[in-house]
């Protein structure tokens, strides 16, 4: 179990439904209730039609690795302990301009430093999993290829 990571503020009024969905093991994306366009990260107004009414739509939960990094110290203590670890950006299969930052792991409760970074490739297919730290559930990703 990782502790001391920088966790999201669950009271953030715009983002709260995203994190609530994660706690139900669902990866959702904000969708404009008026014009139907998806947007990530979530925000109060639709930049396409200026509606402030939004819903949350389920996603496939699958995508490809768009890019990745391998941080080394100096880092905040909680991250330094795990370093070197990976962080990835995933492009969602149904709309590759919807992207999520995450980590590549071998299972929902796997550590973010357990995969040899030299084996990670841009374009790899991945599938979302969920891991709970304190009161927060974070989306992470496992290989789906």
């Amino acid at each position: 179990m990782e502790t001391g990571l920088l966790l999201p503020d669950l009271d953030d009024e715009v983002a709260a439904p995203f994190w609530e969905a994660c706690s139900r093991s669902e990866l959702v994306v904000q969708m404009c209730a008026a014009c139907g366009k998806s947007r990530m990260p979530p925000r109060p107004m639709c930049p396409h039609c200026r509606s402030v009414v939004a819903t949350w739509a389920p996603t496939s939960g699958t995508g490809t690795i768009w890019s990745y990094v391998v941080p080394h110290p100096p880092l905040l203590p909680a991250y330094a302990e795990l370093a070197p670890y990976n962080a990835i950006v995933v492009a969602l299969d149904e709309d590759p301009t919807i992207r999520f930052v995450g980590n590549l792991v071998t299972s929902a409760n796997g550590a973010i430093n357990e995969i040899d970074p030299a084996t990670i490739r841009i374009g790899e297919k991945v599938r979302v999993v969920f891991t709970t730290i304190d009161d927060v559930t974070l989306p992470r990703w496992v290989r789906a290829g």
Partner: protein, 381 residues
């Protein structure tokens, strides 16, 4: 505002680590030196333009340096994106008569609370950082490394290209006695052996951490002609927050490798009689080495995807490179003061006083932070 204002004074403190003076004191010392350099008096200064991140506020600066009545003051946000912005705002204020003599500056200490916001983030993250920091993309270097990896993948850029940037800056610093890295050489072997900070970026892909302050004085072109120093005229100025931009973690727009430079450049060149092909020397914001190829593309020195190849064959190096870049050593080898030292080096190139002077340089492009809301200046002699 084309050529209606000029930078007529420059001043700076020593660069170092753990300087004893406060950021306010450093700011006042740099401003004072710039006013002297301009052969003006503090009482003549009536405009102030500063980074939002400044620790010392306008009121404090004015009553320390003994400035006159301040009739214009403004701030520009987004850290390193603000360097050319604060100069441009001062120039606009002079050009529109809101003030007659303005100063713009940056003072920074690496250990100060405002300098490294990522190291003091609170336990719970709200706003846009919540989409990256919980996953360990914590520091600016992690954020830019993510774009760099993608850039390398799409366009075939290599670590050798990034080394070209680091080595060019270091060679220029080795000619500048005021540069932090004046007496430290950097070989390609040393670069390749540099420890990782955030793969694919190593130690030498990162800017320095520096304490210090720099300032410039801006006044009208008419007034500039009567002063001690050769004016560096502000030929063109632009800022940009591109559509759907997100600060640093710009991973969410249609094409994240089209950075803020593109929108800034399109306005800059539109307002300029000088075009990229006529620019003999550039000071490009270099908090991280990959920002140089991205900026070369964005500012139109080459096509998209060609920025890495542009750096080959010593293209960035004085005196024979195609575009000598960061001729004082820049943020990577002179000092990292949020890119404000690049503005002063641009002025020196126009004056003919750089330690790596491009012969006959009649203008110099200066850019600010890439990856954040940004700004750029085209200065001319």
């Amino acid at each position: 505002m084309k050529d209606r204002t000029a930078i007529v004074g420059i001043g700076q403190t020593a660069f170092g680590k753990g300087l004893a003076d406060s950021e306010l004191s450093l700011a006042c010392q740099a401003i004072s030196a710039a006013i002297d350099d301009a052969s003006l008096t503090p009482g003549e200064v009536d405009g102030l333009s500063m980074f939002s991140m400044e620790e010392g506020r306008e009121v404090e600066v004015a009553r320390n340096v003994g400035l006159g009545d301040i009739t214009y003051f403004s701030e520009v946000g987004y850290g390193g994106g603000a360097g050319c912005g604060v100069v441009g705002h001062a120039a606009m204020a002079v050009a529109t008569g809101q003030c007659n003599v303005a100063v713009a500056w940056r003072a920074r200490k690496r250990a100060s609370k405002t300098s490294r916001p990522w190291s003091q983030v609170p336990g719970r993250i709200a706003g846009h950082w919540q989409w990256s920091r919980p996953f360990g993309v914590v520091r600016p270097v992690d954020e830019i490394a993510m774009l760099t990896r993608r850039y390398m993948h799409e366009f075939g850029a290599t670590r050798d290209h990034l080394a070209n940037v680091a080595i060019a800056s270091r060679k220029h610093a080795n000619r500048n006695p005021l540069a932090t890295m004046y007496d430290k050489k950097l070989s390609r072997e040393q670069y390749m052996e540099g420890r990782w900070i955030s793969e694919p970026l190593c130690l030498f892909d990162n800017c320095l951490e520096t304490d210090g302050a720099l300032a410039v004085v801006i006044t009208s072109a008419e007034r500039a002609r009567d002063l001690a120093q050769p004016p560096a005229f502000i030929h063109a100025f632009a800022q940009s927050i591109p559509q759907q931009h997100q600060v640093m973690t710009n991973y969410f727009c249609d094409d994240p490798l089209i950075g803020p430079a593109y929108a800034c450049a399109s306005r800059l060149w539109e307002r300029s009689d000088i075009k990229p092909a006529d620019v003999p020397v550039a000071q490009l914001y270099d908090a991280f080495s990959p920002l140089i190829p991205l900026s070369l593309e964005g500012y139109g020195f080459c096509e998209r995807g060609e920025g890495a190849a542009f750096t080959e064959n010593g293209a960035l190096e004085w005196p024979n490179g195609r575009l000598p870049t960061n001729t004082s050593g820049g943020g990577m080898s002179e000092a990292y003061v949020h890119g404000f030292n690049l503005v002063l080096e641009g002025v020196r190139q126009c004056r003919g006083t750089s330690t790596s002077q491009v012969e006959g340089a009649e203008n110099c492009l200066v850019t600010s932070g890439e990856g954040v809301p940004t700004s750029a200046l085209l200065l001319r002699a």
